[in-house]
Amino acid sequence: MCTMDIYAQNILDRYKKPFYKDKFNLSGKRVAGSGKLNLVIHKEANHSCGDVVEVGMKFVETQNLASLQVYSFSGNGCAISMASADMLGDVIVGMNMEDILNFSKDELYEVLGIEISVRRSKCALLPLLAIQNGVLGHQKEALKSWKDYHI
């Protein structure tokens, strides 16, 4: 019987058995279906702890609205950063780019369902930074940095 309970069970589960991790080759095949395909790949690192998250997102554009069809990530990091990268997949698949850019820190914390201390905020936010900067880069907009999350 383990006497330690570091994170909520959902975090540990998703860390140990991720759903979206290394799901497809980021340079992989076209997604089935019609419409214009946009492949977005972006990597962010938290140099203070060595965590790296690379996200791959396939958007399909129909009627001028690109929605996320496939999401995957690869990377190395602590339980919070990896679980966050995985759990984000549950909520952003199906979103359009604007919805993804509007997805907030508070909404992410709600999805994670645990209290995120200040010292772990970058762990939790690293995947969101990678996802949002992937989209911003695709749109040729200025990228976000940590200060934009007010941490």
């Binding site: 330690m4 570091i6 994170y7 140099h47 702890c49 060595g50 190395n76 602590c78 339980a79 762990c123």
Partner: protein, 399 residues
């Protein structure tokens, strides 16, 4: 002896297992009392106001300078400059001495062990004036690999740590310092960790510059020390400009004051400096003999216990040889942040990350390590709690 009782934080947090003294030490009661005493009895601005209270404050501030000079064996108290921290001390040397006496192509020799504070100021100088940066490699125990060919006529400064904050290695400095001086290069020693665990004699070391910080040495935060040989300090231009550091000011020019004031622009951390004296006196009253005995016993015991965990890997020295009371490690399949988080739930404080030594981590091909560091106020039972905590963390991630 039980030194815990000298530190109020262990009274307010009786279950605290503080194994992060290499980041900052806890403060003994005498230091906290000295801070309070200063503000309640002597608070005034130093060196300028012509009243009795300013006199008291100035005397208290300057008394610390003498205590620090004696602590490291400096010949003169004016060779001690108070800064905000060791980082500022190194920046002072880089900006003042470096920008004045170095030119493009000159070499500064560092090592793979260095803290960012002993890397960035020199990299800034590389960007600004085109100096070259060279690095000493380390062997598998973390010790510097040095052969005399690494110091040439082009080498103008050798800037090295006396003890690695990441790996705990105590470096062999003497042959490097001797060779550096043979070619006329200056030597800066980062003594932040070294000063806490062993006596320092700058004459015996023959260091040209030596830096450390008060907060790792049981003193307050916000006080750093730069020791420099007086002939060097005298030739160096001021670092920051403002009050205190001048002799005369005209509309179109100024004449800098003498050392040490030349390098202490603006109102310094007077309270912190005065309380630093209490820290050194406390340290001297405990004595390095006792400190080293206790820290060695703790480190030896911890190494033995940690080596028994099959999934734990020690990073750096594997034994006690040339090692201070710092132990860096990784655990299979558990990120250092998760190790620290798990231990934190048990009120066990360790450090996890790159320890401000990113080039070292790259060299070791590690993203981060977990680090436990011991001070003389730690006890064997705390090592047991650490080991038990690590076992539980491992079990948690592998259940």
């Amino acid at each position: 002896m039980n030194f815990r009782q000298d530190f109020p934080i262990f009274i307010t947090n009786p279950n605290l297992v503080y194994l992060d003294s290499a980041a900052t030490s806890q403060k003994p009661k005498v230091v906290l009392e000295a801070l309070r005493y200063y503000y309640e009895n002597e608070n005034a601005n130093i060196h300028r106001s012509a009243h009795f209270l300013a006199e008291k404050a100035t005397v208290a501030y300057e008394a610390t300078r003498q205590t620090v000079a004696d602590f490291i064996g400096a010949k003169h108290k004016h060779e001690i400059i108070f800064t905000r921290n060791a980082t500022e001390s190194i920046n002072l040397v880089a900006r003042s001495w470096g920008e004045t006496f170095l030119k493009a192509g000159d070499e500064v020799l560092l090592s793979k062990l260095e803290h960012h504070s002993n890397l960035i100021p020199w990299l800034q100088l590389k960007e600004k004036i085109g100096i070259e940066i060279k690095y000493l490699d380390i062997d598998e125990s973390g010790q510097l690999i040095f052969d005399e060919s690494q110091i040439t006529e082009k080498t103008k400064l050798v800037s090295l740590t006396g003890m690695s904050n990441s790996l705990g290695v105590i470096t062999h400095l003497k042959p490097i310092i001797t060779k550096a001086h043979e070619v006329g290069a200056k030597v800066l020693i980062d003594a932040c960790q070294m000063a806490v665990h062993s006596p320092i004699d700058v004459q015996e070391l023959d260091a040209d510059f030596l830096v450390f910080s008060a907060h790792k040495l049981y003193g307050p935060t916000g006080v750093g020390v730069l020791y420099g040989k007086s002939d060097l300090l005298e030739k160096m231009p001021p670092f920051l400009g403002g009050g205190e550091m001048i002799q005369q000011v005209f509309e179109d020019r100024f004449i800098a004051g003498d050392i040490p004031n030349k390098f202490e622009a603006g109102t310094p951390n007077i309270a912190g400096v005065t309380a630093f004296k209490a820290a050194i006196e406390y340290l001297n009253s405990v004595g390095f003999e006792t400190i080293q005995k206790q820290e060695k016993a703790l480190t030896e015991y911890a190494l033995e216990k940690l080596k028994a965990l099959p999934y734990l890997k020690l990073i750096g020295p594997q034994g006690m040889k040339n090692r201070g009371s710092i132990i860096s490690f990784t655990i299979d399949g558990v990120h250092p942040h998760d190790i620290a988080e798990g231990l934190s739930q048990k009120q066990i404080c360790i450090r996890a990350g790159h320890h401000c030594t990113q080039p070292l981590m790259d060299y070791l091909e590690l993203p981060a390590t977990a680090r436990a560091s011991f001070a003389f106020y730690n006890e064997v039972e705390e090592v047991d709690k650490l080991v038990k905590g690590l076992e539980e963390v491992y079990e948690y991630f592998n259940q």
